[in-house]
């Protein structure tokens, strides 16, 4: 039996309108369509995302551990500064979580890659849109958690200066891209091994230790701290958390490290993507 057709004006409303330079308008239209569809998808799983958001409570647990420890006082970090750092770390962690390797691995194993590889759009944009949409879905939960924290620990409540806030937002977003590109590079190994996520799990250890998730890097021995700052991991958490919480940080050096790692990871991802697709085509699609 014939079904009623969606009316053209209704379809046009759903598809929206665009003006401007064709190439930019086209890119924006793709970005918007990807984001909107992925956001709709994430909202379908909002309960699951709430659980994921709650599973990122480790910085707040670390705060409860460190708040009574003498090491902080010895390093000149007040309990209030600890509280602010770990709350900021919690927020930053919420917006820098990356799971591209697991999504890609599943798509590969379930045979969903082939139809997507036939479209004139690199897959990375779909996964990036999914991550950004997930961040948008987490936002209300994070706001609620921050409000709850301020209510529970009122002496830690603070409003960062506009400059610090802007820099922290920028650093957090760049930290996300750094984390995304690092994991995406590992993801590309799925073209060679069906279980590339094992390598990602291996990388979680240096992330845990060097990102500042367990403690501010200021508490580390100087040599370890210097080494950590050369790796990409502090850029994913310590740098934006310190900027947001008002802690001491060499922002210029921090952003320089981000730039260096991005400059390394972007071409590496391009090379691995091209080689991976060639490999996929060579091995059986």
């Amino acid at each position: 039996m014939s079904q009623p057709l969606p009316s053209q004006p209704r379809l046009q409303r759903r598809f929206g309108r665009h003006r401007g330079f064709p190439a930019i308008a086209s890119a924006l239209r793709i970005a918007r369509a990807l984001f909107v569809s992925q956001y709709a998808l994430m909202l379908e799983f909002r309960a699951e995302i709430l659980l994921w958001a709650l599973s990122g409570l480790m910085p707040l647990l670390m705060f409860s551990l460190w708040s009574g420890a003498p090491a902080g006082a010895a390093a000149g970090i007040s309990p209030q500064a600890f509280a602010r750092y770990f709350l900021a770390a919690f927020v930053v962690r919420q917006f820098t979580v990356v799971w591209v390797v697991y999504a890609f691995e599943e798509d590969n194993l379930l045979g969903r890659l082939s139809p997507l590889l036939l479209q004139p759009l690199p897959l990375v944009w779909r996964y990036a849109a999914a991550h950004l949409a997930e961040q948008a879905t987490r936002l209300p939960f994070v706001v609620g958690m921050v409000a709850l924290f301020f209510w529970a620990v009122p002496e830690a409540a603070w409003i960062p200066s506009p400059t610090r806030l802007l820099l922290a937002l920028l650093a957090a977003h760049l930290g996300f891209w750094l984390n995304f590109l690092l994991q995406h590079a590992i993801t590309m190994l799925c073209f060679w091994s069906e279980r590339a996520s094992a390598l990602e799990r291996f990388l979680f250890m240096p992330y845990l230790f060097l990102s500042g998730l367990l403690a501010p890097l200021d508490l580390y021995p100087e040599a370890v701290r210097r080494f950590a700052l050369l790796t990409p991991f502090p850029s994913m958490l310590y740098l934006p958390a310190q900027l947001a919480s008002g802690g001491p940080i060499d922002a210029v050096a921090g952003f320089r490290t981000v730039a260096v790692w991005l400059a390394l990871l972007i071409p590496l991802n391009l090379v691995l993507w091209r080689a991976g697709v060639r490999r996929y085509a060579a091995m059986g699609g």
Binding site: Q3, R14, F15, R17, I30, A33, L41, P115, L117, G285
Partner: protein
């Protein structure tokens, strides 16, 4: 000029083999046994723009492998492929915009969202402006008899509705060349018929070239004046189904209804007696003798009714595959 040009196309895979049990596992761990499987061997064919071609072969014959090579998902081990003026393996965007590959067992629609959300993404990816996207969606929806289903999550759709929505997503950019791998797989008879009507209509409207594989012979007989038959990776037949029937079934079936029952031995001079029960007789007669034999039967015997038919194509091809008799005549 041909829109699909295939010359000497080959594809082999290396597959590892493992014996069952602990001993087999240990041997497999210490020394892998690898053998090379030739999925496609030295395939040659061309397809003209607007043709609808059936691609037949048993499971494992190399049909899907060939379609994947034609769409650029798989690199050939040897030979040359050109589709719409492009080498598929280069995966240029201009090429990807001109083709589509629909695999009955794989989906591109987002499972938990309505098809319209996926269509919206595809419209953006293929650079369709809003008006054109809406127009094409309305046209495809009308052709496929989809309406409110486009607003329901894909997971809530029936298999037939989902397949139609998959086709919409695959055809929204209006590709010139369609590679369809079992698009009616698992559909009921009505949904299969609707899908066939749609494909014929789409081909008529847009002049699209279609290369179709299907296990349902009705799809091929309804849509494809020409068939390519491959077996064990090699091309066995390129021509019409009638030619294939003549080649594989050199005899035709003559069904007789007699006024009075007669013994089977009474028909031995006319052809091979396939069955004889009472007044119903089935004979197999050489094609070149058919006219003479039919004339003699009508003249000699008390025939009430006579019907000449080809054996069902499924039976002919099925027999060929079972026998593995694919020697070129």
């Amino acid at each position: 000029m041909a829109i699909v040009h295939v010359q000497g196309l080959s594809r082999s895979f290396r597959v590892s083999e493992k014996d069952p049990g602990l001993a087999g596992t240990l041997r497999h761990f210490l020394r892998r046994k690898v053998r090379t499987v030739e999925a496609v061997r030295d395939l040659d064919f061309t397809i003209e723009p607007g043709e609808m071609v059936g691609f037949l072969g048993p499971n494992g014959a190399g049909k899907t492998t060939t379609l994947k090579m034609l769409s650029g998902l798989l690199h050939p081990s040897g030979g040359r492929v050109e589709v719409a003026g492009h080498v598929p393996a280069h995966r240029q965007a201009a090429f990807l915009r001109r083709i589509t590959l629909v695999m009955g067992q794989k989906q591109q629609l987002i499972w938990d969202l309505p098809p319209l959300d996926s269509l919206r993404v595809n419209a953006a990816v293929y650079g369709l402006d809003d008006l054109e996207a809406a127009r094409r969606i309305a046209e495809l929806a009308e052709m496929l008899e989809l309406g409110e289903e486009l607003h329901r999550p894909v997971r809530k759709l029936s298999l037939g509705q989902r397949m139609k929505a998959e086709l919409m997503a695959a055809l929204l950019h209006r590709p010139e060349v369609l590679f369809l791998d079992e698009p009616t797989l698992g559909l009921d008879v009505n949904a299969q018929a609707a899908m066939r009507r749609f494909l014929a209509d789409y081909n008529r409207r847009h002049g699209a070239t279609v290369l179709l594989t299907s296990h349902y012979m009705a799809d091929i007989t309804a849509l494809c004046p020409r068939v390519l038959l491959i077996h064990a990776g090699s091309l066995f037949h390129d021509g019409s189904l009638e030619q294939l029937t003549q080649r594989l079934a050199p005899r035709r079936e003559v069904r007789l209804e007699l006024a009075d029952p007669m013994p089977g031995s009474a028909f031995s001079g006319y052809g091979e007696v396939e069955s004889c029960s009472g007044r119903d007789v089935r004979l197999l007669v050489d094609r070149d003798r058919l006219t003479t034999v039919v004339g003699r039967l009508l003249a000699d015997l008390p025939v009430l009714d006579l019907e000449v038919r080809d054996p069902p194509i499924e039976d002919i091809i099925g027999r060929l595959f079972r026998q593995g008799n694919t020697d070129q005549p």
